[in-house]
Symmetry: C2
Subunit: 306 residues, 2 copies
């Protein structure tokens, strides 16, 4: 049963979609009310929000793994993560059963659902949202580290909503409304999940993810599974020598084969993909990842029959 739902915006203080969404929900909490659970909304990093910056000392979305905490207590985001864990975390005062964390990216993510675990609840949620909004893409973040250190670790079940392309520190009305619709569908799904649990007709082996189709066979889900990340080409002084290639820009989820263009040097020379295995890059040219040494993430495209 889902008892406590938490909707988070402003985990990054310059991603305005989630920030204004949380402000809206905090002004009208009835909007996220459902019969079978309590839903709260939270501004993830209020100090970063007030400065319209991603973070002050350390990316808050990398601060929830206690093993990585610094000895010093002076890092604002680590202190914030500790407080949030104490209140909303798995061992907190009001543990969160289902967390929805709202993000945006300068890459052409479209409407991306970030899935940390491919458990039946989460796969059912993904299938439900894709049925409601066929444009959504499913990203399995297992192996990226985010399943252990992100804001989403507050929840037993987790959904990241990543929309783009959107310049940080801006709003896009279309992406705002699409994000809002996804949140409402996700809340409806959790509500239906609770109803199925509460219903005596429901067989314990029947997961809400099992969706009979017209043919009787479940539809496979296409999932982009994280493999790794690659950096921009750099010189010996660790300075970037190339940009995202024009043929790669905004081509998230599109296959890259051996020899395909990846980067363009400032002198105009193309650098190509040298891997033998085809990959499906995402987070291509995300602003916040320059400092992290990430030009894009590679994924593998998989079909999952749920």
């Amino acid at each position: 049963m889902i008892h406590q739902v938490l909707i988070v915006g402003g985990t990054h203080g310059n991603e305005l979609t989630g920030i204004y969404m949380v402000r809206k929900f905090q002004e009208c909490p009835d909007l996220i009310k459902r019969t079978s659970f309590a839903a709260r909304s939270l501004m993830g990093n209020p100090r970063a929000v007030s400065q319209v910056t991603r973070y002050l000392d350390k990316d808050l979305n990398r601060c929830f793994d206690h093993q990585a905490w610094s000895a010093s207590a002076s890092i604002y985001e680590e202190a914030r993560a500790k407080n949030l864990l104490k209140q909303y975390g798995p061992k907190g005062e009001t543990p969160t059963d289902f967390v929805i964390d709202l993000h945006s990216t300068t890459s052409n993510a479209g409407l991306m659902l970030i899935l940390d675990h491919l458990d039946p609840f989460t796969l059912g949620l993904a299938a439900y949202l894709q049925a409601k909004t066929p444009a959504v893409k499913l990203y399995s973040s297992t192996g990226s580290g985010r399943e252990n250190d992100s804001m989403r670790t507050l929840g037993k079940y987790r959904l990241g909503i990543e929309v783009g392309p959107l310049a940080h520190a801006t709003l896009n009305a279309d992406l705002f409304q699409k994000t809002e619709a996804l949140i409402h569908h996700a809340l409806d799904y959790a509500d239906q999940h609770n109803c199925q649990y509460a219903s005596p007709q429901r067989s314990p082996t029947q997961s809400p993810t099992q969706r009979p189709t017209q043919s009787g066979e479940p539809t496979p889900l296409t999932v982009y599974q994280y493999i790794g990340a690659i950096d921009y080409p750099k010189n010996n002084n660790a300075e970037m020598i190339a940009m995202t290639h024009p043929q790669r820009q905004f081509q998230d989820y599109e296959v890259v084969n051996l020899g395909d263009p990846m980067f363009l040097t400032f002198e105009g020379e193309t650098i190509s993909y040298e891997g033998k295995t085809p990959v499906y890059p995402i987070f291509i040219n995300e602003a916040a990842y320059y400092e992290k040494g990430v030009a894009m993430s590679f994924t593998e495209k998989k079909k999952l029959v749920t």
Copy 2:
């Protein structure tokens, strides 16, 4: 005669196009060499560049009007502007005849030339660049304030190159190459201008802007003339209540008539244009202008016969 040319990038520390352009020119100064003048390149706000932020204390591109300087000497960008004026300004050690300042914007500027003064040299430059690159748009900034307080005031003749849409803190290879091509054309124009001046055949009344066409008549230039700026709709607490309308997003340079949609509230209600005079908005949804209370600038579309 143009003796000293100055190419500036990084006036805003998160606009990477100009920053990497200046780095390129500083590594290979020969790239901007021409026979008839000296060309230098300058990183406008190096501290902001190192922090990948627009500015530290105050927008440097509003700091060049000495009448607006604060009494305090602790504002980094005002001190920086004073130093730059002392070296490169009209009364400086090596006064700048022609300045090219490189910018990018999250709005759909395309390839915008910012013109502070519509003198013959500048109009000839605009016509030359438009002949080489028909996609360029001409923006006359007179009345916006930038003609008095921006980095461009270092130069007697001035060109701002504003490219978009581009998320701040990112590079776009296509826009990088187009910016570079415009710089080279502008340098060529200045070089040709000097040659015409030096040539004894040239009549003193014949401006390099006078371009005979096939019909013998000069082609009129389309110029977007600054009228004013409007803010986002706000409540009594000065909080935004609406976003750029989807039908206005990325529609820079497109006419807006009475009743056309302008904003969309967070509740989904459209706010329309109530002016009786048609306007041509630019800088629609520029990230850095949220804090300045500017949702977009209004311009008037004019034809100029040079």
